[in-house]
């Protein structure tokens, strides 16, 4: 299975590309059903505290996590376009920041496999970089966790 590629072809954008070994109807379902989203959207060892999806145009969504340090992290937004199973457009904000980004997700299916292309557009490069930085924070936290595991194992 091809791994995720992330590119930043424009200063305010992040592009995602990944192939899933499943028909797009299932990928769409797994990305828009709270009980299923709860199982994958969190982070390693971090359960989602909130997962609300009002799946209709103009409907709101709200995802929350509690970090291992006890911070509550909340993402929320609105569905702008829903064309199951091949295309969704939704907005996203990250509390407490007021900036709104827009994410266009396209699912195409070939031979039972689904290619996901998602383009996230941010209001400025500063916001885009802030979002990229969220990976650094959690990445760092997870690296520390793994280091701890290694230390305990020896």
């Amino acid at each position: 299975m091809s791994k995720l590629t992330i590119t930043t072809p424009a200063p305010c954008e992040i592009h995602f590309h990944r192939v899933f070994d499943a028909p797009r109807q299932l990928v769409y379902e797994a990305m828009t059903t709270p009980a299923l989203v709860r199982r994958w959207w969190g982070k390693r060892d971090t359960e989602m505290t909130v997962c609300e999806i009002d799946l209709r145009v103009g409907g709101k969504w709200r995802f929350g996590l509690r970090t291992p340090e006890g911070f509550e992290v909340v993402f929320h937004g609105e569905y702008v376009e829903l064309s199951p199973p091949d295309r969704t457009v939704h907005t996203e904000s990250f509390e407490p920041h007021p900036e709104v980004s827009t994410i266009v997700t396209t699912l195409t299916e070939h031979g039972g496999k689904t290619t996901m292309v998602a383009v996230a557009t941010y209001p400025s490069q500063e916001v885009r970089d802030l979002v990229l930085g969220s990976g650094m924070e959690s990445g760092a936290a997870e690296s520390y966790d793994r280091m701890e595991e290694l230390v305990r194992a020896t």
Partner: protein
């Protein structure tokens, strides 16, 4: 190991420094070799003091170093913070790849579900 806070504030400085197009152009020029302030100012419609202000931001972010020669003080690219900025993208990718691997597991179950 570095405390997490100091590592990320250093990265904040790197990204703030990289957020300006003039400063990115200066770094692109320095990637081809060291240069003096006069040489760096030449392609921009900017005064030398304005360029010097940008150089100070880049120097504070640890992206460039200045030579000791008092007359010329040539600027040189420092690679490490830039590598950290690239690392940023890779960490973000890893975060999402971990999510999508869990999604792969969910999809396997959905495929086996009786219709």
């Amino acid at each position: 190991m570095q405390p997490r806070g100091s590592g990320s504030s250093k990265l904040d400085a790197t990204f703030a420094a990289l957020a300006d197009p003039t400063r990115r152009a200066i770094l692109a020029r320095l990637a081809t070799g060291e240069a003096t302030v006069t040489e760096l100012a030449a392609p921009f419609a900017m005064s030398q003091p304005a360029i010097s202000t940008h150089l100070k931001v880049l120097e504070r972010a640890g992206l460039i170093s200045r030579g000791r020669d008092a007359q010329r003080r040539p600027c040189k690219l420092v690679a490490k913070p830039l590598e950290a900025a690239t690392d940023y993208l890779e960490r973000y990718r890893e975060l999402w790849e971990e999510r999508f691997q869990r999604l792969d597991t969910v999809l396997e179950e959905l495929k086996r579900r009786p219709r």
